[in-house]
Symmetry: C2
Subunit: 229 residues, 2 copies
DNA sequence: TAGGATCCACTGGTGGATCCGT
DNA sequence: ACGGATCCACCAGTGGATCCTA
């Protein structure tokens, strides 16, 4: 599929997929999802990249480089509630003490995201739901920045081993490694380096769920409140 | 093939291969050399690694880690003269200014080498010739150290782009990249970094040829002179 | 339920060297 | 003749996420 030439075309294409089954899309594009079990991780995202004409492929860019847009699929239940958190990017542990949210790769990735919810039905079948192009509001950016600075500050201080998935309001840190034995370098308390498991930033499902319901919902706004001031 | 348990066994096995055709060895070990053209680069070395039970495989070690021995095949003509230079290792360009021969990976690789000459006959067939386990003599080490310091000094000074294969008496520097477009970071004259093609250390064919004739030949000794003082 | 662990496809870099134009 | 360019196999790392126990 040709790469969309602008945001409007990308969004139109994505929204036109609403209701389509993943199996059908896979067949059309000549790919196999292998619909059961743990061996299908990542297949959904790769399929939608193809369907929508993403070209980024490798690292250090977006899925749609000319648009600066990142594509994220998110599995949701019948109520539209995400079943999983969303991976953002790998954390550069070694440089944590110099990292700043404003110039971070995490922020660049989240600057403009095309969310494609994938409805997972009770029988296990999956269908594309309504896509949404989102950018963080100023208020959302503030909270993400706080999470980032908090987490990176602690990593920079040599506390990476003490960090758990509990840290961060919306952005959390979790292990990110294909095999448990992988190790990378991180700052140690004594100012040196220690070997630890690679980590990534993830968006909590609570946050992506709120986004999908109302993209400009303010931080702290509760369900049931009006979105009018 | 089982990994040799000591140097004597390794050398005995290697010398027992003298006269064997590469094709025959390949057949015995179930590998295909694809005997013609440019698509066979590296196959000889990989075959001999299998035949002799090398286990190193990945980087940062030797072919026979427990022995600290590196295996090198070298194509020679009927007179025993090498047809090619010998790759030693990739150069860490960025750290060139801090590099020292004594602690260098190049020296570690050359500390103990099992040379396996491969006789290339006029009809294109290839046979293993007499293997030789070599360590640099003190005098040889001095010359290699001079080459190393000369080259690394110039790289460290930001002169990598001005370096050619002419530099170095026995150890030379040449490009080392699967594709011409690969780039890596090296010191620049202004103290910053520049993107350049990766380089590797190679031993000149003149040097390896001298080694194969007389492993302890002193630096500067000419052909035809006696090896007795 | 969600934090920690893990899976697959893909590819860029590395180690094994030899090719080939000037 | 040899300095610069290139070829193949292999594997660790990355990006895509989801699995799976306590």
């Amino acid at each position: 599929m040709r790469t969309p030439s602008d945001e409007a075309e990308l969004v139109a294409r994505a929204r036109a997929l609403a209701g389509r089954s993943l199996e059908g899309l896979a067949r059309e594009h000549g790919v196999t999802l292998g619909s059961v079990g743990r061996s299908t991780k990542g297949k959904t995202g790769t399929l939608l990249e193809r369907v929508l004409g993403a070209t980024g492929g490798s690292s250090a860019t977006w899925d749609f480089p000319s648009l600066g847009v990142e594509l994220k699929t998110v599995p949701v239940d019948l109520r539209g509630v995400p079943r999983e958190s969303t991976f953002v990017c790998t954390i550069s542990l070694r440089d944590a003490d110099r990292a700043e949210w404003a110039t971070s790769w995490a922020r660049a990735k989240l600057r403009r995201v095309l969310w494609v919810p994938v409805l997972v039905l009770p029988d296990g079948s999956r269908r594309v739901a309504g896509a949404l192009l989102w950018s963080p509001t100023a208020a959302q950016d503030v909270v993400l920045a706080q999470d980032f600075e908090d987490i990176m500050g602690r990593i920079g201080a040599g506390e990476v081993e003490g960090l758990s998935g509990h840290a961060g309001r919306w952005l959390q840190v979790r292990p990110k490694a294909a095999h448990g034995r992988v190790r990378t370098a991180a700052p140690a308390r004594d100012g040196g380096l220690l070997a630890t498991v690679p980590r990534g930033f993830y968006l909590r499902a609570l946050f992506t769920g709120a986004l999908l319901r109302d993209p400009v919902a303010l931080p702290g706004r509760r369900e049931g409140e009006s979105s009018a001031g």
